[in-house]
């Protein structure tokens, strides 16, 4: 377990439950753990174990019921809706299972989206987007629409979009869940490079033990509680 002073994610006694009709369903119960800066961690567990909920909380798209949740030193549970949006834009890169690209935008425009929230000029944005697409091996597909790309290529576009604004943390929810083995390997290799070469902290939720092996640390969630396993 990482030292909390160096931890980019600091979680203490975190709880989260959902209301389903009249019933309150607990999803996370008293989670306490830290993620060190620069870590590549895989969260595993059966469906409904709360791993995606934990990821959503860390990424600032959901709010905990109680407990402490500090990401990059910011207590994100205290941020307002608008502040949280700005915080996500600056600190978090998202990678989704189904890529979540805008179908009407080209690969270039999809990658450019997060930069529209920054003060960068078009020229600066263009340079960065082109560099990011070169890094994921899609320099020849910039003007292609998502429907013209394979699943693996779409996920690479999504990864370029995730790191384009240089966030500190990348969150990936089943990033290889919709891909064949070869494409999955390529995606995992890119994530590994992002972790090693660009020192991004990566938090990946996965069902796939093979994918989890790319991570340096694996955590299991079971019925809202965390086990430690390396």
């Amino acid at each position: 377990m990482g030292n909390s002073s160096e931890a980019i994610v600091h979680i203490k006694h975190l709880t989260k439950s959902y209301r389903r009709g009249e019933q309150t369903v607990p999803v996370l119960t008293d989670i306490t753990f830290d993620i060190p800066t620069g870590e590549f961690i895989a969260l595993m567990g059966p469906s409904g174990s709360g791993k995606s909920t934990l990821l959503n909380l860390i990424a600032g798209i959901d709010k905990p019921d109680s407990g402490i949740l500090k990401v990059g030193g910011t207590d994100i549970a205290l941020l307002s809706e608008g502040e949280l949006a700005d915080w996500r834009a600056a600190n978090i890169g998202f990678i989704f299972q189904f890529y979540n690209l805008m179908p009407v935008l080209t690969a270039f425009e999809n990658v450019e989206l997060p930069l529209l929230l920054t003060p960068l000029s078009f020229k600066e944005r263009q340079e960065r987007v082109e560099l990011a697409l070169v890094m994921v091996g899609l320099s020849d597909r910039m003007e292609h629409y998502p429907s013209e790309l394979s699943g693996g290529q779409q996920q690479r576009v999504a990864i370029a979009r995730a790191f384009i604004s240089d966030p500190v943390i990348l969150v990936a929810d089943e990033p290889t869940g919709d891909l064949d083995r070869t494409s999955a390997e390529e995606i995992l290799a890119i994530l590994d490079r992002l972790n090693k070469e660009m020192e991004k902290t990566i938090i990946m939720v996965t069902h796939d033990p093979h994918a989890a092996k790319t991570a340096h640390l694996i955590r299991h969630l079971e019925k809202g509680e965390l086990d430690v396993e390396n």
């Binding site: 700005d86 996500r88 834009a89 998202f94 179908p103 997060p114």
Partner: protein, 388 residues
């Protein structure tokens, strides 16, 4: 910076058919709205331009129109001798004692009749209306049963064409000329010699006196003198105002009917836009969730969807206005409820109507898109991302 405009436009283009159908619905409403305003403007323009600001119409004080007015010869002589009356060539006083009557004529190619106004004019009658030009044949000669017909009448009524004859006032009258009054109300009249007409209809009195002022700024003095003279029971109005007032009743009716109709239709178009926009939100829930996760704020989402529906409205507005502009090629005729005679007028498009119609279209888009946009902006990010 907000969500890129290309994203909004391409989403509309992707759903071409839905976009066109929704915009088409709004275009029809804008068409109705613009057409009605154009009709009202055409009527107003026709009647307002009928009158000249230098001319004064004197009628019986209680009469709203020339048809209702009676002026006897003594009173006419007093009015003619007012010092504000202008003089023309050969020191002719520029006044025209006129008598108007309504006759019923049969439309060409049909057996339906309408009231047409016959105006008996003095020698100077045509000098007082410089917009009236003889376009075919010649001017009528005083003392004869000759008439000239406005072009709207000549084209549309049996016996009103050049060389044709009309029977009224127990006499036969020959149409010796056709005049063009520049799309004013006179185009819907037939003119004859005032003395001949009064004899034929056995009328001892005039209906109105038209006079040109030597100095239009003295109108108030003239009006006060005519209206204050105990021998006269007459009122004076500037000719332009006299005709503008004649357009009031019909113009108001057209406006209220048109606005009410457009109002009802617009409810349908707004509901159409709302359904389209709700569908657009429903189809893009995951995209909305993704954009929010990437850091776009609620108001970015709200403005993106509002912009989308405003574009729908704008497209509808442009199509509707283009369709409505073709209406300028049509002329319609109807009964002017104040003179009870036929009046022909066209559809007139001006910049004010273009702006009003376009703003109307945008408002329809905005109202239609508002609730869907609010819904889109308030979706939970987590729920939206699950909607794959």
């Amino acid at each position: 910076m907000a969500i890129p405009f290309s994203y909004i436009i391409r989403n509309l283009i992707t759903r071409k058919l839905t976009t066109l159908l929704t915009a088409g619905g709004m275009a029809l409403v804008v068409f109705v709205f613009a057409t009605v305003l154009m009709l009202e403007e055409g009527l107003r323009k026709t009647l307002v331009e009928t009158g000249s600001p230098d001319n004064v119409v004197v009628t019986r004080r209680s009469a709203e129109t020339e048809i209702q007015s009676v002026i006897n010869r003594d009173q006419a002589a007093i009015v003619e001798s007012q010092p504000e009356v202008a003089y023309g060539i050969n020191n002719v006083r520029l006044t025209s004692k006129e008598s108007v009557v309504l006759i019923s004529l049969i439309r060409r190619g049909s057996d339906k009749s309408s009231n047409v106004l016959i105006r008996g004019v003095g020698k100077t009658g045509i000098l007082l209306r410089p917009q009236v030009k003889i376009v075919s044949g010649r001017m009528l000669k005083p003392g004869l049963s000759e008439i000239i017909a406005g072009k709207s009448i000549a084209d549309r009524y049996n016996g009103a064409g050049i060389g044709e004859k009309l029977y009224f006032g127990k006499r036969e009258w020959t149409v010796v000329g056709i005049f063009d009054a520049g799309n004013t109300g006179f185009d819907s009249e037939i003119w004859g010699d005032v003395d001949q007409l009064m004899q034929a209809f056995r009328r001892p009195v005039y209906s109105s006196i038209i006079l040109k002022m030597n100095d239009p700024t003295k109108f108030q003095a003239l009006k006060a003198r005519i209206e204050g003279d105990p021998r006269l029971t007459l009122g004076a109005k500037k000719e332009s105002i006299f005709y503008a007032e004649q357009s009031q009743v019909l113009s108001n009716f057209i406006r209220y009917l048109g606005v009410a109709l457009s109002g009802f239709f617009s409810v349908g178009a707004i509901i159409g836009a709302m359904i389209t926009m709700y569908a657009s939100v429903a189809n893009r829930i995951m995209e909305i969730g993704t954009l929010r996760a990437l850091g776009f704020r609620r108001n970015n989402i709200l403005s993106a969807f509002l912009t989308e529906s405003l574009i729908l409205g704008a497209v509808g507005g442009v199509i509707g206005l283009v369709l409505a502009s073709f209406m300028q090629f049509f002329t319609i005729s109807t009964m002017n409820w104040q003179s009870f005679s036929e009046l022909a007028f066209g559809f007139t498009l001006n910049s004010s109507i273009i702006i009003k119609s376009f703003v109307f279209a945008l408002i329809m888009g905005l109202i239609g898109g508002f609730l869907p946009a609010v819904k889109a902006a308030h979706l939970s990010i987590v729920d939206s991302l699950r909607a794959v």
